[in-house]
């Protein structure tokens, strides 16, 4: 059985949402929660892509030290 939609939103926000959101339907709460989750996933993918692609711009001598910082 799926979790309480308000609790799912709380988990994504890592805190209590504003009280006015309690009036939203279950479907709307789930949509909002999913939108936040997707944004987080997209941000993670963008970070991974940047860390991989960025190396082609880094001068060869600095690649080692930078790799150590990013680890």
């Amino acid at each position: 059985m799926s979790q309480d939609p308000l609790q799912e939103l709380r988990d994504q926000l890592r805190g209590d949402p504003p009280d006015a959101l309690r009036t939203l339907s279950e479907a709307d709460l789930r949509h909002l929660t999913e939108a936040i989750r997707t944004a987080r996933v997209r941000q993670a993918a963008a970070l991974e892509h940047a860390a991989e692609q960025g190396f082609s711009y880094v001068p060869r001598l600095l690649r080692g030290p930078i790799r150590r910082i990013l680890r």
């Binding site: 504003p18 909002l32 936040i36 987080r40 993670a44 970070l47 711009y57």
Partner: protein, 232 residues
Amino acid sequence: MSVGYQSIEVRAELLKLARLLGRAPDELAYLEAVGPAELRALREQVTEALFDSHLGALNRLASASRLLPVAVVAQMGEKVFGALLSARITGLLDPDRAVEVAARLPDGFLADVAVELDPRRASAMIARIPADRIAAVTRELLARGEFVTMGRFVGHLPDASLQAAVEVSGPDDLLQVALVLENKDRLGHLLGLLGPERTDQILEAADRAGLGLEARELLEQAGRDDGSPRPG
């Protein structure tokens, strides 16, 4: 707050939240019944959640960038990181270095970053950008109709930058920005910089746009401002 004014504020908040989530504002239409103050609180929570969820990785990228020449950081920002990640990392860079990086980036890309940036996290950097550059990016944002973005920055700009921005803006532009201003407590100070003649022009623009009531309501709010100048 009148219904018309509240609805302008709600639309502006929904646009900001939709951008943060990478969604079209229509997809969040179910939030229209939520008041602007609570929508803003929700947006701030989402901003924190997204930022904090990758803070470690963002901090590592910011640390790594210190080893690189400014020109390389600028190139990577534009070609690899893009506007979204550049906006997230900006506030983690040393403000003076971030300004040096910005100096090497085109106005169009800086406008892209401004759309994604949380100005509260990059206030020190924003305050250090030369006024003529602020004017150039303002022109770019105006050309795109990015009044909501401009409204988020007003509270973070020192007077010289604000002055430069208003000089390249027409009364219709200033009206649109004023209506969606994020730090409304700064409105009185902004109007002080504009002077009575330009304020009257904005009111005329509001009357032409059928927004006279909303604009006057805003002016009433501005009457409660302390008028003190911005730091920086």
